[in-house]
Amino acid sequence: VSRGRPSPRRRAALAAAVLGLAAAAIPARAGVRPAYGGTVRLALPALPREADPALASEGPDLFLARATAGLLLELDPGGRLAPGLLAEVPSPEADGRTFRLRLDPAARTASGEPVLAADVVRALSRVLSRSSPSPHAWAALAVAGAEAVLDGRAAQPGGIQILSEHELLVTLSMPLPEFPYLLATPAVAIPGAGPFVAAPLEAGRPVSLSANTLHPRGRPLADRLVLSAADARGAARLLERGEVDGALGPDAAGDRVRPLPTLTVTVAAVNGARLGSSAAAVRAALGALDRAALARRFARGAAVPLPTLVPQALLSGGAAAAAPAADGARPAASAPPAPPIEPPRPLRLLVPEGASDARAAAERLQVLLFDRGLRAALEAVPRAAFAARAAAGDCDVAVASVTVLAPRPALAAAQVAHALRGAAGARRALAALAGKDGPEAADAAAALGRELDLFPLVASGARASSGPRLLGLAAGGAGAVDPSGLWLLGGGAQ
């Protein structure tokens, strides 16, 4: 099969994607056909700093990962799984724990190297690596033998068996019908096989990406992508002057603004053992948090109260009714708690650096604790250190914002639990919510929150601001912008 000519299956997939994008992104311009070519300039809140998809967790890094890494499976605009680098969506074997993955024999990286089963094994093992811990270990925790890799006793999970160059067998340690959705996340995507190829990252310099003509789904619409950094007002100015074609960030940067799904959840974790006598006061303060006010006054972007650990957007039908309270707050005790004894040290509220929603929520909690006679200090640490300390319980309260990558409740809960409670919490989340959806998943998520002493606070989403020429800047099936779907009116002709 020639590289320049997409296969019929890829052409069909491309057509479906284009149709989906057109339906989702440009309803006002129905009937306008997407055009190839041109350079799309996007302003992000910050420049991407991490090119490894296994380490990407912040918005700009995740955008770069989606642009440069090849997803094993795709999600169509309706949220349904579709082939990506895998030739087909895998189904569970008879035991419910085994999945046979078949790679598209035509799948190539941007450099022309074929994508093989070993690359998939490497991607799944990479997120479990002990030497360079990934925030996405949750994505491979269900694979049998994942613990050995996490503990450093094995280089790759024993549950993965390579059958041939293009076929492998994955055995899970627990029933997890949602496993194929894990393969649609950038966390386990194959580096270098995405729709774009990035030039080496240079600190402080815009990131330039060029189209990958060898991409299995066909080349992206735009020839190039240029990613620059600007705050909200700076992005608005650039957009107004026509110096960028669009902006992604929590704040609106122009008149043509489209909110993205609220898939970034902010959750607090309480370490009762460390807090001791202050734990009750802290839980009471968290329980008394007005989540609606938190979403309105503190969370940036489009924000809604978060009833459970799973974003409402992922719970289909009646989930809200199953939420434990109207705004997600746990019922507070009828009597006000007794004034706690002031501890000799201030409580430590741990937040990751750069997580504005988590910091805002922690600042609000800080004031509520102060009003209750408790002194609490914020401590912002790098994300890697945050993950290690939160998992080890080395703080009094940890507040984190997690962008959910997989649109299934079990996987979302596992990702959130992993961010705040480590691998053990993620396993409990997978076990508690596997195969559940709707109200049942909401109930299980609420119970899981209580079990893990986690307090869901708000869910927020970015805003996509488009200039007059840019189209396709909207959420795809995964709830995030698909870089390959961005295009300019007139394409490269103008």
Binding site: D290, F298, A360, E363, V367, L368, A377
Partner: protein, 577 residues
């Protein structure tokens, strides 16, 4: 304590007491002068502090007013009114403005009193800030001191701040901005005023404090000075003087003044010490001049008491001491001359006695000689037939008496011409053995025993002369025991030397004779010259030793010869023994 020391101490006290008495009024006068200067400095620092607080309040008022009138606040009010700004976006503005304008407290207040955005306490958004509400109830544009809760690295803590508010037109928003009087500001105030600053809350709790510029004394000096010259403070109220929100306490560093006082005090003490030492030295010098003749007089008296009549004081001070010294020297000279005259008289008396006794001794043989000559002349004149027999007996008698005279003369000659001993170290064992060797065959009935203590040191002796003494003593002992008995010769260690003892079992010596047996020509033996023991004692005394006798009637007698140990040979002799 010697007289010299007593005099030196008296001089030191006479010098120290007046100086020490002067120290107290001088120190008080100095403390008063320095304290007045310190109070003046403190008043100046308090005035500077009040001025700085007023300036900070004015800065807070102008900052709040400028911000309320500025385009940012106006745009915020307009966007809010038009619904173009989310509350969450607006919540970040105060933090941005606060940092840009160098304020420590900044909040944008909605018309209903709730916080829209707070830079100093972001988590307060949506609430009525209880710290700012009383300020907002007052008039705008007036800085008020108040404790405001502020988020910091250690959590939310109250901080004293000067806060003013201003309205934002239109829209009803209000901007409250202020400057905190925290640790950093306290350091600036301390640097400005040159004093130590403490910010005290209404309850007296210390909110912040800063030490003044380094002018503090070392801890040792602070302890030494104690309460001198004290460290008064001034209190400057923050806000309404009737009910201040806080008080700023300023304390000007007193280290410089205290150091000046310490310098003066140290100089005074140094002068006191120097004066005391100089007085003591002068006293010691004067005392030495006074006591030197007394010391010489004491030393000379000690020498005279020890028998040295040639001792003289040797110095001749003036005055009464000079008279005393001269009298002492004259008395000593008279004493020496008297003793010499007495010795001369004694010598003359002794020779007279010797001459008398010698004449007596010579006279005794002359009588038989004269009688024999008379008998011979009478027999010849009568032509006695037995003349030959009478002649033979008479000449025998004359010859016997002449021999006796010769013996007397020889003994006397020996006594008078006894040569000076030639002393050398001699082992006592050797002397005892040599003396008894001549009596290897003692008279019948006599048993001679020898008893020498092992390890005796050599004695300093003229061997022949000492041997003569021992032979004389042994021979006397044997002659005292004509019927036999036990005689022993022993040698024992004695203080400073060795004691040789000859003990016989004879009839002993009468107590009356015991005192005289060493006198020349005194004898209790028939035919004795009376010079043997006299010569023996003289030999002993010329050796630096002694010869003594002890006896009880009927229990024999013991003669003890004491000789000095040969210096420096003890070890060698001991090892030889």
């Amino acid at each position: 304590v010697t007289l010299r020391r007593q005099l030196a101490l008296a001089f030191a006290l006479f010098a120290a007491v007046p100086l020490a008495a002067a120290l107290v009024p001088v120190s008080r006068a100095l403390s008063g002068a320095l304290g007045a200067e310190h109070a003046a400095r403190l008043d100046g620092a308090a005035a500077a502090l009040a001025g700085e607080l007023a300036r900070l309040g004015a800065d807070a008022e102008s900052a709040a007013a400028e911000l309320a009138r500025g385009p940012d606040a106006e745009a915020l009010a307009r966007d809010l009114a038009a619904g173009r700004l989310d509350p969450a976006d607006a919540a970040r503005r105060a933090g941005e403005w606060m940092a840009a304008r160098g304020l420590d407290v900044l909040a944008v207040i909605e018309p209903d009193g709730r916080v829209l955005s707070s830079g100093h306490l972001p988590g307060r958004a949506g609430d009525v800030d209880p710290d700012l509400a009383p300020i907002l109830a007052g008039p705008p544009g007036v800085a008020t001191g108040r404790l405001v809760a502020r988020a910091g690295p250690d959590g939310v803590v109250p901080v004293l701040a000067l806060v003013a508010w201003a309205p934002v037109e239109p829209g009803g928003l209000r901007v409250a901005g202020g400057l905190a009087l925290g640790g950093e500001r306290a350091h600036r105030l301390a640097a400005l005023t040159g004093g130590a600053v403490r910010l005290l809350g209404p309850d007296g709790a210390v909110l912040a404090e800063a030490e003044g510029p380094g002018d503090e004394l070392p801890a040792v000096a602070r302890r030494l000075l104690g309460g001198l010259p004290g460290a008064p403070v001034r209190l400057v109220p923050v806000g309404d003087p009737a009910a201040p929100a806080a008080t700023v306490e300023i304390r000007v560093a007193s280290g410089g003044l205290a150091r000046a006082q310490l310098t003066v005090l140290g100089a005074f003490l140094a002068a006191l010490a120097a004066g005391t030492l100089a007085a003591a030295a002068a006293g010691a010098l004067l005392a030495s001049r006074v006591t030197r003749p007394v010391e010489a007089l004491r030393a000379a008296a000690a020498r005279v008491a020890a028998g040295d009549l040639e001792a003289r004081v040797g110095i001749a001070p003036a005055g009464e001491l000079g008279e005393l010294v001269r009298s002492f020297d004259a008395m000593t000279a008279d004493l020496a001359a008297g003793r010499a005259r007495l010795a001369q008289a004694e010598r003359i008396a002794a020779w007279r006695e010797v001459a008398r006794r010698l004449a007596h001794e010579i006279k005794n043989p002359l009588t038989p000689i004269a009688m024999s000559v008379e008998t011979l002349r009478d027999a010849k004149a009568r032509a006695r037939p037995d003349f030959a027999e009478i002649f033979d007996e008479g000449t025998k008698a004359i010859a016997e008496e002449v021999r006796r005279l010769k013996k007397i003369v020889d003994e006397f000659s020996r006594f008078a011409r006894l040569p000076a001993p030639e002393r050398a170290p001699v082992p006592p064992e050797e002397l005892v053995q040599a003396a008894l060797a001549l009596f290897s065959a003692p008279p019948p009935g006599v048993a001679i025993t020898r008893d020498v203590e092992p390890g005796l040191p050599p004695v300093l002796a003229d061997r022949d002369q000492i041997l003569q003494v021992l032979l004389n003593l042994v021979r006397n002992g044997l002659e005292a025991m004509p019927a036999g008995g036990r005689l022993s010769l022993s040698a024992r260690r004695a203080p400073g030397g060795v004691a040789f003892a000859v003990t016989d079992a004879g009839p002993g010596i009468a107590a009356a004779d015991l005192e005289r047996i060493f006198e020349p020509y005194y004898t209790t033996k028939p035919g004795g010259t009376g010079l043997g023991l006299a010569i023996a004692r003289r030999i002993a005394e010329e050796h630096g030793g002694a010869l003594e006798a002890s006896s009880r009637a009927g229990e024999g007698a013991t003669f003890t010869l004491r000789l000095l140990e040969a210096a420096g040979t003890i070890g060698a002799t001991g090892s030889a023994s």
